[in-house]
Amino acid sequence: MYSKENMPIEKNAVPMRQQPATERIKNFDEVPLGYSRQEALKEASRCLQCVNKPCVGGCPVHIEIPSFIKALRDNDLQKAIDIIHANDSLPCVTGRVCPQEEQCQAVCAMKKFGEPISIGRLERFLADWDRENRKNKKDTPAAAVAAKNRSVAIVGSGPAGLTCAAELAKKGFSVRVFEGYHKPGGVLVYGIPEFRLPKAIVESEIDLLKGLGVDFTPDALIGRALTIEDLFKQGFSAVFIGAGAGLPNFMNIPGENLNGIYSANEFLTRVNLMKAYKFPEYDTPVKRGSFVAVIGGGNVAMDSARTALRLGAKHVYLIYRRSEKEMPAREEEVIRAREEGVDFRILTNPVRYAGDDRGAVTGVECLKMELGQPDSSGRRSPVAVKGSEFILDVDEVIVAIGNTPNPIIPRTTAGLKTGRHGEISTDESGRTNLPGVFAGGDIVTGAATVITAMGAGRTAALAIEKYLTEKGG
């Protein structure tokens, strides 16, 4: 394979350096260490610069990937990051947590000849360069010009809300983001662990938004302190709801409320947002189990298992009822969890928890499963193997089997149309059935990825602009 300049193209991607597994399970520092400039340039040189740009179509927010790679190759880093920023307000985040292997990189033309271009790693390199670069500049980015005299309320400060806020601020609208927690960022701060997404990075991305003129009101839960109706009364012309899929699911099996059994949301919130891994420097405690069972096979389950190891667990089981093929987690995360020593117990389903007289969990009884016919999700559904019960002795359990939309806003917003699982119903542009009310992210789709939520925030921002322009005034 040769480039346009007739140079041979390297088939293999430039690997990213990372902390070795034996070291990293002793700390909460980031695992992959990022590309150096030299490595980034080398990787960028592999891009074929295809005319039909399949990668752009594979990206939920349609970043002009070949263009930013071209700018990077030309050593114009500022231009490269500007191209990314045009479509993606949080590249430091997406460069780390996007499942590129299922999106832009899945359709990369280089896959026909070798490994796809490491688009995510290049994005991360540029975003980190930009972040460092900004630190050295004294002046903050100029607030959006030609401010429009209309304000938009954003409910929730996760990926959907932050993206919608950024897009609207860039268009000159005045934007206020309401957050229930004391810190903005949503799942980026309470959910995704430090070792996958350092919180200082999220903070700097949020500072960038503040620089664009976005205001933040923490400690304000919309639906309780103020209703959606109140927001309009306060003078907001439109509202975007990005409140997330906040209600953790449990299996409703005997013993699930024993002490030491957490939802992944609670476990991760204690550790990430409340910094329980630094207890007692921080006041919030978390159980540090020696034998921990994590239930589930998604990214949140991997995050929980790897966090439990870092808190000092001797042994972490990951219990998943289907086979590894059906696991929804990113392959990269599964590999890292394995490297770190997580004990995968696939085709296994918990049926009951046992506890001691003080109400603390002591074990989980499981059944072996086998794969039957495909279910509605297209995945082969697990069927219990009769008589296969066995018990794992554990002193902590983390249930990571997904979330359903938080019901507070639907319950307190008269007439807001919702779906079967309590998700807010919208059209493809993010409009709800109520005029001026838009929604996007997990509260619409149910639990999904950061980038999907960002895509929804971006789409809704366009719809909000259109709505306010048509409304005039």
Partner: protein, 271 residues
């Protein structure tokens, strides 16, 4: 940041704090709570709203200086600011004209009983209030309770003030004396609420308790506050804090309240 308008000790380790929080006072109703974080490295703890004033935008919190957070709050003075305060959280108590309503408050639970009694009275109920303190030194808000009650019965554990004994003794005597009771509300330590239910539920008296589970988020996303109601898992912050006492698994509640008993900084004491 939330400015403290007044701060004082009502009784040993029992503190009152009036805080400027117009977003909370604007919507607060009896039975709701706030989540407070006292400093940058602090925990999030739930505190019941003891009173609110929509005109001046303030809320009143009464809490026991029992753990790190509540002790820090107790040390804060007028003019200081609380970094974080979220509310009103939870569902308001269902207030209507039940007829003869008995409200029972134990210790720190007396504070949230006050707005409850007031609302019940406003709805035309005959309100009998039973309040219990540890000793004479611990008595607070007797005058306030008296102003919203048709009848107020005060007891102390050691008999140093009012009647000697527990609130359940008073309740038992009231029932034995033939007092007609249409509903009972009990707020206090889990053990007290369990004991009250032990008397009223077998007699078929409708009883509502306000559960004091541990919490982190207070808005439905973590499940730290899960309780068992009628054999089903419920979240105190989303489905409560008020529950029908006949359905509550009090033993589970008490065990879960002890989850972090061994951690040095057990700042989660019910308040």
């Amino acid at each position: 940041m939330f400015k403290i308008l007044a701060s004082r000790e009502l009784a040993p380790k029992v503190n009152l704090m009036q805080v400027y929080a117009p977003l909370v006072s604007g919507k607060a109703e009896a039975g709701q709570f706030v989540i407070v974080r006292a400093h940058e490295k602090g925990e999030r703890i739930p505190l019941t709203i003891a009173d609110f004033n929509r005109q001046d935008g303030s809320i009143t919190l009464v809490f026991q200086a029992a753990g790190k957070t509540t002790s820090m709050l107790a040390a804060m003075k007028k003019g200081d600011r609380i970094p974080d305060l979220l509310g009103p959280q939870g569902n308001p108590t269902e207030i209507k004209n039940y007829g003869n309503a008995v409200v029972i408050g134990g210790g720190i639970g007396i504070a949230p009983v006050y707005p409850l009694a007031r609302s019940l009275r406003e709805q035309g109920n005959k309100v009998i209030s039973i309040v219990g303190y540890r000793s004479k030194d611990h008595v607070f808000w007797e005058d306030k309770m008296s102003s919203v009650s048709d009848r107020l019965i005060v007891s102390t554990n050691d008999g140093s003030y009012g009647r000697k004994g527990l609130v359940t003794d008073t309740l038992q005597e009231l029932i034995s004396g033939g007092q007609k009771i249409d509903i009972v509300f009990a707020i206090g330590p889990a053990i007290m609420m369990k004991a009250v239910s032990g008397i009223t539920v077998p007699l078929g008296i409708k009883t509502v308790v306000s559960l004091n589970s541990l919490m982190v988020c207070g808005m439905g996303m973590c499940g730290a506050c899960r309780v068992e109601i009628g054999g089903k898992t419920r979240f105190t912050c989303m489905d409560g804090p008020d529950f029908d006492a006949s359905l509550v698994n009090f033993d589970l509640l008490m065990k879960r309240l002890d989850t972090y008993k061994n951690e040095e900084c057990s700042c989660h004491k019910p308040a």
